[in-house]
Symmetry: C2
């Protein structure tokens, strides 16, 4: 049965997709009452940790295209959660920052998202969690650089 095909029951790729799907659904569920989507939240969280990120950098961090992030930023700016200078201080890059309103909004979202993450990790030991962390980093590295995954992460 597995001779010509990828057994979805034992495929790590399929399982990865499933996990990501379930996680996204769980996050959307807790963020919906706050009127926030996952990408929306990701953007705010990125800005909280790295103020002044450009549109393109935010897009990469949230795993969407520049174009998609741009429309989101326009909305967030219009609603007063973020600010961007009208003119680029240098080059074309418009550094984005959270407003106090955006920061307040993020705080609630963080609580909700953290609860999901806690629930996801329940039942896993610290060792299992760090093992999963290293495995995921290895997969990402192998897929990105194409080479045979030298496991090139210096450890947690």
């Amino acid at each position: 049965m597995n001779q010509d095909g990828i057994d979805l029951e034992t495929s790590l790729g399929y399982l990865l997709k499933e996990a990501s799907s379930v996680l996204r659904a769980a996050m959307e569920e807790v963020l919906r009452p706050l009127g926030m989507s996952v990408t929306h939240y990701s953007c705010l969280e990125l800005l909280a940790q790295r103020p002044g990120l450009s549109n393109s950098e935010l897009a990469r961090g949230a795993f969407v295209t520049r174009q998609s992030m741009n429309v989101l930023l326009q909305t967030l700016e219009r609603e007063g959660y973020v600010t961007r200078p009208a003119e680029a201080p240098v080059g074309k890059v418009l550094p984005t920052r959270l407003t106090p309103s955006g920061r307040r909004s993020l705080e609630k979202a963080t609580v909700a998202v953290r609860s999901v993450e806690v629930r996801m990790l329940a039942g896993m030991t610290e060792v299992e969690q760090s093992g999963a962390f290293r495995s995921l980093r290895s997969m990402i590295h192998s897929l990105r650089d194409g080479n045979g995954g030298t496991n090139g992460n210096g450890g947690a």
Copy 2:
């Protein structure tokens, strides 16, 4: 810096999203020359392993809505990769099956996808892989059932 916020650098949830994103991109890259999307491929692979699946079942297996899967199935049917009876043999369920053409198309895709999965797992030992497998199953279980993740998977 991590007092009020989720440190994206150490968050398993963020890493999961990143891994899934990279995996999807890698799959799309190898499937594009075959004129196939990831959902497209997932659908065919599901049908190969479980012939006669209904539209709704395929949707759940590919992690999309019934509606999305339905439009995909209409396309696949029109292009001759799958067949569905004009009338439901029982109830409303229309069991879908691969045509020989669909099976040939899937074979090429499977080779491409397998190469991606092999690349992703390069650099990981068998032990690491089975560990990652169990971790992902645990996360899925914990998020789905809401309870504290009793790690209720009977092993590989």
